[in-house]
């Protein structure tokens, strides 16, 4: 919301520092975003006087002017405008001036004559669309003055951020009220000087309202004999200071009043209103209506229209119709001042993407009591600026008059909520200063009536806020609360946050970098990984196609991260991410089920490439090692089972990780054609673990201490030669299933694959170290040898192996 300082001063005599004003209002909840000079872009333009003006000897359309710009010497300016003439005061851009469009004025030579500057038109300075020639200024202006000073333009405009509750502050008047309150200054309303010229507007126009809820008040005034033309400079300049483009006197008057008093108005060409009737009624589904921006809109029954006797003429509170708007030849005006239901206006403006200054105010609520004054003041200004006359009286329909609202107020409760101890008088002064009436005949429970412009004062607690706001929330003494807890809840098990915090600490400790990706990706990202189309949760209004669906899998985000890093030349990427994946779920109250996942991605060298680490690329055993370390060492769960699965969407090989019957995740290598898309020229290893399942297991799992062994172990090594297709786990299982009670543990200690093997008969050698130990005695070698032989026998019997 832009607030012009001089306009504000018409209402309240604030003469202090502008920053102080901004800061004070900020601390009252009207946040100052900045202070701007709206005419900064023309600040270097000066008033010049054309001393001589002669035709250019080489080009008759050009004039050679001698211009006094207040400097010691006059300057020569070659000017192409037809209306330039000796004796005029004109705006001059001297050499070095930067024009509003950004062009810098330089010395120039036009058909052989040197020109030192430019005489400007209104359009060149951004003051109108007039291209008719140079701007001829008031002869009374002092030559050499800055144009902004000569025209007395506003140089100070505040930009405030207004929260949605403060509809009353969407006008200069609203800011004047707050300024008066803040600095204890008097508020002066503009004097109304409306001259009515006879007749009776009520006879000229009938107003019908179908539903009082949608339109509690509709007032109309009629002006006759107006001349549509440019509004006077003072009005145009004030609107321009607020960033508005002046249009015509009639339209500018409606805008002027909207910015000044907060009441949006609309001017119809009365001659285009049929049957002398205005009717406020909803549209019907599918009907078409062309708004004054010449766009045909398709409406719904939720949109509110203004109709005349035959046709719709305006989209209520949002935009007028092209069939009834004021145009150059209009002479009679119907001025509308109405109040509409905020939600209805909001819905229409949002659905049609037609936000306007008017709808913005209607959506937040306008002052129904101020309506009449605003309309009358607008009619006065229109008459004054157009030469028209105002028909006496008002055509009015107010099916739902404004009801004053009264709220209880308990001062002690207010003090207890705010944490303050103030005299009741302070509160009373605040309320009265804001235009409320206070009945404190019951000291414990006052009755406070709020004014029609403070729509936000709806409840007792809103009054508390006013007391706090005016006293200063920043002045409330800070204390620390006593946080009470009930016995039942404080014995919570480890929270999900705590579990995830542990997982993340593990990831960082394991040498991985934590990444955070957006929860949404594009359908393309999921399709590329051959992920199913069903179960996807789509965003109805995505920002872009590559963010239109929630992740159904952790991988797409991780792979995008890999791609980004490769593009930056980062050739080792070792990341993890903890995030939810989302699957459509009709059973859920949110239509979605969310699953907490841990994703790990390894790409590039296994170790740092610096000496003394051995070179080598991360491979399956690296990703597997991370999974094992997390599950067994960090979470202290049982060693998982790893089984190759076929036909995974994007991993090959893909290994399923299970503990008992529970699948805790998958891991493997991203298929090469997919990896190619992400520009990964080496293997990409990925793991995707189910943190919901792991957390449930961890919570259920209790650590049990096992006593340390007392007697020494005995170790035996065995090298098993078997087909290359025989999995290590099968050998390990066979060893462990041999039923040897004193066998404590089995470790794989070496793998050897002989070279130059016969095709189809490849073998490999796996060496295992078996540790035997008895709980209650020291084992003798003989005894160990006997048991070890049993193991070897079992191996030979059950597997296609030799030693």
């Amino acid at each position: 919301m832009l607030v012009s300082l001089n306009w504000l001063r018409e209402f309240v005599p604030y003469e202090g520092d502008i920053q102080v004003l901004g800061d004070k209002l900020t601390m009252l909840g009207l946040e100052l975003e900045g202070i701007e000079d709206p005419f900064e872009n023309v600040q270097d333009i000066v008033v010049g006087h054309v001393v001589e003006c002669e035709s250019h000897p080489e080009a008759e359309k050009l004039s050679v002017c001698t211009v006094d710009v207040g400097d010691a010497e006059t300057v020569t300016i070659v000017c192409g405008a037809p209306n330039v003439a000796k004796g005029q005061n004109v705006p001059v851009a001297k050499v070095g001036t930067v024009m509003p469009e950004g062009m810098k004025i330089k010395k120039a030579k036009l058909r052989g004559i040197k020109s030192f500057g430019m005489i400007c038109s209104e359009s060149e300075l951004g003051f109108s669309d007039d291209h008719d020639g140079i701007w001829v200024l008031d002869p009374a202006f002092k030559v050499g003055d800055k144009l902004v000073d000569a025209l007395n333009l506003e140089r100070t405009v505040f930009d405030f951020d207004i929260t949605p509750n403060r509809a009353d502050c969407l006008s200069i008047l609203g800011f004047a009220r707050e300024t008066a309150l803040a600095f204890d200054l008097p508020l002066t309303m503009p004097k109304l000087n409306l001259i009515e010229s006879g007749g009776n507007a009520a006879d000229d126009l009938k107003i019908l309202i179908d539903d009082p809820e949608l339109c509690p008040l509709y007032n109309g005034r009629i002006l006759r004999g107006v001349e549509t033309k440019k509004a006077p400079d003072w009005m145009r300049f004030k609107l321009m200071a607020l960033g508005q483009r002046p249009i015509s006197n009639i339209v500018d008057c409606t805008n002027y009043i909207m910015f000044e008093l907060g009441q949006p108005l609309h001017a119809f060409d009365l001659d285009l209103i049929e049957d002398a009737t205005i009717r406020v009624a909803p549209a019907t589904d599918g009907m078409k209506f062309t708004t004054l921006d010449a766009v045909e809109r398709t409406l719904t029954a939720n949109d509110l229209l203004i109709w005349d006797g035959k046709k719709p003429v305006a989209l209520a509170g949002v935009m007028g119709g092209i069939n009834s708007e004021m145009h150059a030849g209009s002479t009679n005006v119907l001025l509308e001042a109405a109040v509409f239901r905020p939600g209805t206006i909001r819905k229409t403006a949002r659905r049609l993407s037609l936000p306007s200054d008017a709808s913005y105010r209607f959506e937040r609520g306008v002052d129904q009591v101020m309506n009449r004054f605003a309309m009358d003041r607008a009619a006065q200004l229109m008459a004054e600026t157009s030469g028209g006359t105002v028909v006496s009286g008002v055509s009015s329909n107010e099916p739902k008059p404004w009801q004053d609202r009264a709220h209880g107020y308990r001062h002690d409760r207010c003090m207890s909520l705010l944490g303050l101890d103030l005299e009741p008088d302070f509160a009373k002064k605040v309320f009265e200063g804001e235009g409320c009436t206070v009945d404190d005949s019951d000291p414990a429970n006052w009755t406070v009536s709020s004014p029609s412009y403070r729509l936000d004062l709806e409840r007792e607690v809103d009054l508390y806020e006013e007391v706090g706001r005016v006293f200063g929330l920043d002045q409330i003494p800070a204390v620390l609360p006593k946080v009470s807890k009930s016995l039942n809840t404080s014995v919570a098990a480890e929270t999900q946050y705590g579990f995830i915090k542990g997982i993340k600490a593990w990831g960082a400790g394991a040498g991985l970098n934590e990444a955070i990706n957006y929860s949404f990706v594009g359908d393309d990202d999921l399709d590329r990984l051959n992920l199913p189309a069903e179960g996807r949760v789509h965003i109805a209004n995505p920002l872009s196609a590559d963010q239109n669906v929630l992740r159904t899998d952790i991988a797409p985000g991780l792979l995008n991260t890999l791609k980004n890093n490769l593009a930056q030349g980062n050739n080792h990427v070792r990341i993890f991410e903890v995030a939810n994946k989302f699957i459509a779920d009709a059973e859920s109250e949110t239509e979605t089920s969310e699953h907490s996942r841990l994703g790990i991605l390894l790409f590039g060298p296994r170790h740092a490439t610096e000496w003394p680490w051995a070179a080598g690329e991360a491979d399956f055993l690296d990703i597997k090692g991370h999974v094992e370390h997390l599950v067994e060492n960090q979470l202290k769960l049982a060693a998982p089972d790893f089984a190759l699965t076929e036909d995974h969407a994007y991993l090959e090989p893909c290994v399923e990780v299970k503990i008992g019957d529970d699948i805790i995740g998958i891991m493997g290598k991203v298929k090469e054609d997919i990896a190619d898309f992400y520009h990964a020229k080496k293997d990409v290893w990925l793991a995707d673990l189910d943190l919901d399942v792991l957390r449930a297991m961890t919570t259920a799992h209790a650590i049990k201490f096992a006593p340390l062994p007392i007697f020494p172990p005995s170790r035996r090594d065995v090298t098993v030669i078997g087909p290359a297709t025989l999995q290590a786990q099968a050998i390990r299982d066979a060893i462990q299933n041999a039923g040897i009670k004193i066998l404590e543990s089995v470790e794989l200690v070496a793998e050897f694959v002989p070279e130059n093997q016969e095709e189809g008969k490849e073998e490999r050698n796996l060496s295992f170290r078996l540790t035997y130990r008895h709980a209650t005695k020291t084992l003798k070698d003989k005894q160990v040898d006997k048991e070890h032989k049993k193991v070897l026998a079992a191996l030979e019997q059950n597997l296609p192996i030799r030693f």
């Binding site: 905020p342 929330l473 409330i476 934590e514 209004n541 920002l543 109250e589 003394p612």
Partner: protein, 350 residues
């Protein structure tokens, strides 16, 4: 003294001289070992000299024995001292070739995302004050995200948060406040919870990403006041940003709190002066203050929607954006870096 004894003793003395004269001849530990054997070995020079002991008169034997012992000790000491010198030289040579500047066998350094670091820090401060963790879904229904928080459909406050919709009644949560509602529905007061998590807005530019992180705090009990809120947030801000940080409460508006406030802290860049290095501070744009969170007293309508009696209970709520705090704390200028996950960025955080 008998001549025999005299010549025996002289023999021992010359042995000692002989050994002393060999100083510097043994250049290695091996040569020194040979020297030791030459003098002190079983068949060494000392042993040979001792062969004459038996021929001495019994009365001379004690003096001769004593002397022989002295000579043995002095030769041993002499050779030991040469060995110590040689040892020192050897190890000095080894140390001069030991290079402690070779790179260590350093494991990969992992890191936590700055969002996680700040989230953990904030949560730690608040759990230290007695708040407990709450959680809720990221895809939320309209009721939890809006209506129960006193944001009816058509309310202009809905414009404060551009929403990403899944369907008409299902949204990506626009704030973590929905978790407040879920906590209150689950439990009667007193209640002190924090709800950290991802939130989503339909907004993407230099200062907005469509996903970011928030932490919501909620305290409900009898007689909770705005002073309690100020105290809690002041402690929080000073623990996170340092004990000298100034805190400013500015009236604002949120549909779910009344009164509502925005909290500014003195600018971490310029220390609240508004300028740094003579230029207008780019962090606070010269105001000396930066906004870090929104808060207020829980609106009675929110209590009504979860079945708490607003005449009995009061409470406060606050919500803060994690990325905002991380940017201030670590001096990160570009919000988008948080989600690009460039490992050179990630590696800078521990």
């Amino acid at each position: 003294m008998s001549n025999e004894l005299k010549s025996f003793l002289e023999g021992l003395d010359s042995l000692a001289h002989d050994c002393e004269s060999r100083k510097g001849q043994a250049c290695s530990l091996n040569e020194l070992d040979e020297l030791r054997i030459e003098f002190l070995g079983r068949k060494g020079k000392l042993a040979q000299s001792m062969g004459a002991l038996g021929k001495l008169d019994n009365t001379d034997k004690p003096a001769a024995g004593k002397k022989a012992n002295e000579i043995k000790q002095s030769i041993t000491a002499l050779i030991d001292s040469w060995q110590a010198e040689l040892n020192a030289a050897e190890s000095g040579k080894a140390m001069s070739q030991f290079d402690p500047t070779m790179p260590g066998r350093k494991p990969w350094a992992g890191s936590l995302h700055p969002v996680t670091l700040v989230m953990d820090e904030v949560c730690d401060v608040l759990t230290g004050l007695g708040f407990e963790h709450a959680a809720g879904p990221e895809v939320e229904n309209d009721w939890h995200n809006f209506e129960a928080l006193n944001i009816p459909p058509e309310h202009p406050a809905r414009d404060m948060q551009d929403t990403l919709y899944v369907s008409e009644k299902i949204v990506l949560r626009t704030h973590t406040s929905g978790m407040q509602i879920r906590s209150m529905l689950k439990q009667e007061p007193p209640l002190a919870v924090i709800a950290p998590g991802k939130v989503y807005r339909r907004d993407s530019d230099l200062t907005h990403t469509p996903m970011f992180h928030q932490i919501e705090g909620l305290l409900v009990d009898k007689n909770v006041s705005m002073g309690d809120l100020r105290g809690t947030l002041t402690v929080f801000v000073r623990q996170v940003f340092g004990p000298k940080t100034e805190v400013r409460f500015r009236p604002s508006f949120f549909p779910f709190t009344e009164p509502s406030a925005e909290v500014d802290i003195s600018c971490v860049m310029c220390g609240g002066k508004g300028t740094s290095d003579g230029k207008t501070c780019r962090i606070c744009k010269g105001t000396g203050w930066v906004e870090i969170l929104g808060c207020g007293m829980v609106d009675p309508n929110v209590f009504k929607s979860v079945g708490y009696d607003p005449e009995v209970y009061t409470g406060f709520a606050f919500g803060l954006g994690i990325e905002r705090i991380a940017m201030l704390k670590y001096g990160i200028g570009d919000l988008r870096m948080f989600f690009e996950n460039d490992v050179r960025f990630l590696e800078q955080f521990a």
